[in-house]
C-alpha cells in the first residue's frame, strides 16, 4: 500500500511574539492522514491555524513538536518538493516578469528542461485562461490574474500533491468555476489536493473529505455528508395565486405560518417535515392556488460550519476563562 499523500503526528507550532517573546500556540498537535488521490478541504475561521499548517507542510516554518510526511518523505525534505505544487494565500510574485518568464523561472527551480517547460507553459496558460497575457508583466495583472498565474506555477511540475491556500480569493464567479474544474481535473488524474478555502460552497462541491480547524485544533474530519448529515432541515413550499379570505391573514388555516412573500407575489412556507408540507400543499390547492415548487432542504456545509465554529469558539473562551 502506498504512503498517504499527507500524514502528520502531533504537529505543533508555538510562535514567540513581541519584545517579551510571549508564546502563542498556532497549532495544537495536529493528527491528520490524507490518502493519495483525495481532495481534502481544510476550513476554519481566520487565525484558526490553516495557514500555519500549510507553512509547516511546505517547510516554510519549522514545527515546535511532532512529525509530518509528504508523499512518504519527512517534512523539510527538499527533493520531495519536486512532486508538490503550492499556491500560497494572496500570492505576490516578481512584478517585472512576464507570465511566460515567470513560469519558466518556476520550471527552472524544479529543474525542468527547456522543452518540457515550453510544453507545460503552452498547456497551463490556456488552462487558467491566461494565454493572451503571456507577454504581459505581472505588475500589470489584476488580483484575479495573479491568482490564475499562481495556480499555473503550482502545476508546472505536474505534481502528485497540490496544496492550495484560498485559491478562489480575488476571483470572480467564472474564476471560481475554473478553480473547481481544475481541482476536478486533478482528481481525475489521481492528484491529491489539499484545499484551504473560505468559500464553503466550493469546498462542498469538490472535496471528498473536509477538516474543520478552530483555535489551532482540528475539530472534525469527515465527508460533507458525515458532517452535515443527510437529515433534512426543512421543506420549502412555494405557491402562487393564494388569496386571503376577507378579514383574515393569507396563512390563516395553514398548519405553518407564512415565511415570506416574493416580489412576484409567490407565497413561501417553510414546513418542518413532509407531513406539514403536504398539509400546506393540500390547503393551498383547496383554495385554488397553484404549487410552484416543493423543495426539501438539507443543511449546507456553510450553516454547519457557522454553527460549529461559533460553539467551538464559545467553548474555547469558556475554557480560557476557567
Amino acid at each position: 500500500m502506498s504512503e498517504p499523500a499527507i500524514r502528520t503526528e502531533g504537529l505543533r507550532k508555538v510562535y514567540r511574539t513581541g519584545f517579551l517573546r510571549r508564546s502563542f500556540v498556532g497549532l495544537h498537535g495536529l493528527d491528520l492522514e490524507i490518502p493519495r488521490g483525495e481532495v481534502f478541504g481544510f476550513i476554519g475561521p481566520n487565525g484558526s491555524g490553516k495557514t500555519t499548517t500549510q507553512k509547516l507542510l511546505m517547510g516554510l516554518n519549522f514545527p515546535t513538536a511532532g512529525k509530518g510526511w509528504l508523499l512518504g518523505a519527512p517534512l523539510g525534505d527538499r527533493e520531495i518538493m519536486g512532486r508538490v505544487g503550492f499556491l500560497p494565500e494572496r500570492p505576490y510574485f516578481y512584478d517585472y516578469l512576464t507570465a511566460t518568464e515567470f513560469l519558466h523561472f518556476y520550471g527552472q527551480l524544479h529543474g525542468i528542461d527547456k522543452g518540457t517547460r515550453l510544453r507545460r507553459i503552452d498547456e497551463l496558460l490556456p488552462l487558467v485562461h491566461m494565454e493572451r497575457a503571456r507577454h504581459v508583466q505581472l505588475r500589470k495583472f489584476s488580483k484575479g490574474m495573479l491568482q490564475r498565474v499562481g495556480i499555473a506555477q503550482a502545476l508546472i511540475n505536474e505534481p502528485d500533491l497540490v496544496i492550495l491556500d484560498e485559491p478562489a480569493s480575488g476571483l470572480d464567479p467564472m474564476g471560481r468555476l475554473l478553480i473547481r474544474d481544475i481541482v476536478r481535473r486533478l482528481r481525475s488524474k489521481g492528484v491529491t489536493v489539499f484545499l484551504s478555502s473560505h468559500v464553503l460552497s466550493d469546498v462542498e462541491q469538490v472535496c471528498d473529505r473536509v477538516g474543520i480547524i478552530v483555535g489551532g485544533k482540528l475539530q472534525q474530519v469527515g465527508t460533507v455528508e458525515e458532517l452535515v448529515g443527510q437529515t433534512m432541515s426543512a421543506v420549502e413550499v412555494v405557491v402562487e395565486g393564494l388569496v386571503a379570505a376577507e378579514d383574515a391573514a393569507v396563512d390563516d388555516g395553514f398548519p405553518v405560518s407564512l415565511h415570506r412573500t416574493t416580489p412576484r407575489g409567490h407565497h413561501v412556507f417553510e414546513a418542518p417535515d413532509h407531513d406539514a408540507a403536504r398539509a400546506v400543499v393540500r390547503e393551498a390547492l383547496a383554495r385554488g392556488a397553484q404549487l410552484v415548487s416543493y423543495l426539501p432542504r438539507r443543511e449546507t456545509l456553510e450553516q454547519y460550519f457557522m454553527d460549529e465554529a461559533a460553539s467551538m469558539e464559545k467553548q474555547e473562551r469558556e475554557e480560557a476563562a476557567r
Binding site: 503550492f86 500560497p88 516578481y94 523561472f105
Partner: protein, 254 residues
C-alpha cells in the same frame, strides 16, 4: 541551474526597476560634474577629475549595494515571494547565493556603465588614463561585493532599517579599520590593543580596496596586491554568506 535561475531573475528584476536608473543617473552626473569641481581648483586639473570620478563610482556603487542589498532577502520575505520559492526543491542556501550573485551581476553592470562614463569624461577633457585606474575600479567592485554580503547577512534576520544601520556602520568602520588598529597599537592599555587587534581581524578591512589615491596620481600598482585584495574580499564575502545561510536555514517565514 537553480542558483543561475535565481541570479538571472534577481538581475532581471533589478535592471527593470527604474529606481536604480535614477541612482545611476546621479552617479554619471557627478562623474561629469567632476569637470566643474576641477575647474574650481588650482592646478592638478586632471588629477581632480580622476579623483572625483573614482570617488563617485565608489560612493554610488556602495549606495546601490547597501540600498538593494538590505532588501535583497527581506523584501522576499515581506512580500512573501519566498513562499513559492522555498516550497520548491531549492535549498535555502541556493536561494541566498542566487540572490547574491544576481545582485553582483547588477552591480557589475552599474560599475561598467559608470566606468565608461568616467573614461569618456577623462578623454573628452583631454586627460590621460593610467594603468592604476582599472585595478582601482575593480577593487571598488570587490569592496561592493563585501558590503553586499554584509547587507545580505543583516537582511536575513533584521528589519531594513536596522540592516541599513548595521551595514552603513560596519562599512564606515571597515574603511577606517587600519587607523583603528594603529590607535589600538599605540594605546598603553593592553586590553585596548587586544580588542583593536581582534576587531581588525573580525571586521572587514575595506581600506585594502582603496587604490584611488594611486589611480589619481598615476602611481604603479602591483598585480599581486590586487590579486591578494580580491582574494581577501572573496573569502570575507564567502564567510559572511555562510553565516547568512546558517541563519537563513533555520528561520521561519512569518
Amino acid at each position: 541551474m537553480k542558483i543561475q535561475a535565481i541570479a538571472l531573475n534577481t538581475f532581471r528584476e533589478a535592471v527593470r526597476d527604474k529606481i536604480l536608473y535614477s541612482l545611476l543617473f546621479f552617479a554619471i552626473l557627478m562623474i561629469g560634474g567632476s569637470v566643474l569641481i576641477a575647474d574650481l581648483t588650482l592646478g592638478e586639473y586632471h588629477k581632480i577629475i580622476r579623483d572625483t570620478g573614482l570617488a563617485a563610482i565608489s560612493l554610488f556603487g556602495l549606495a546601490i549595494a547597501i540600498f538593494v542589498g538590505i532588501g535583497l532577502v527581506y523584501k522576499e520575505i515581506e512580500r512573501k515571494t519566498i513562499y513559492t520559492i522555498a516550497s520548491k526543491p531549492v535549498a535555502r542556501w541556493q536561494f541566498l547565493v542566487g540572490k547574491y550573485f544576481g545582485l553582483l551581476a547588477t552591480l557589475a553592470t552599474e560599475v561598467f556603465i559608470m566606468a565608461v562614463a568616467f573614461f569618456v569624461t577623462i578623454k573628452v577633457m583631454g586627460g590621460e588614463t593610467n594603468a592604476a585606474l582599472l585595478p582601482a575600479i575593480w577593487l571598488t567592485f570587490v569592496e561592493m561585493a563585501v558590503v553586499t554580503a554584509l547587507a545580505t547577512l543583516f537582511g536575513c534576520f533584521t528589519s531594513p532599517m536596522l540592516s541599513a544601520l548595521f551595514t552603513v556602520g560596519l562599512t564606515l568602520i571597515g574603511k577606517m579599520s587600519q587607523e583603528l588598529l594603529a590607535i589600538g597599537q599605540k594605546s598603553e592599555t593592553e586590553l585596548i590593543t587586544v580588542l583593536a587587534e581582534v576587531a581588525y581581524r573580525v571586521l572587514p578591512d575595506l581600506s585594502r580596496f582603496n587604490l584611488r589615491p594611486q589611480a589619481a596620481y598615476g602611481l604603479e600598482v602591483e598585480w599581486e596586491y590586487v590579486a591578494y585584495a580580491t582574494g581577501y574580499g572573496a573569502a570575507y564575502s564567502a564567510a559572511l554568506l555562510v553565516i547568512a545561510a546558517i541563519i537563513f536555514r533555520f528561520r521561519d517565514f512569518k
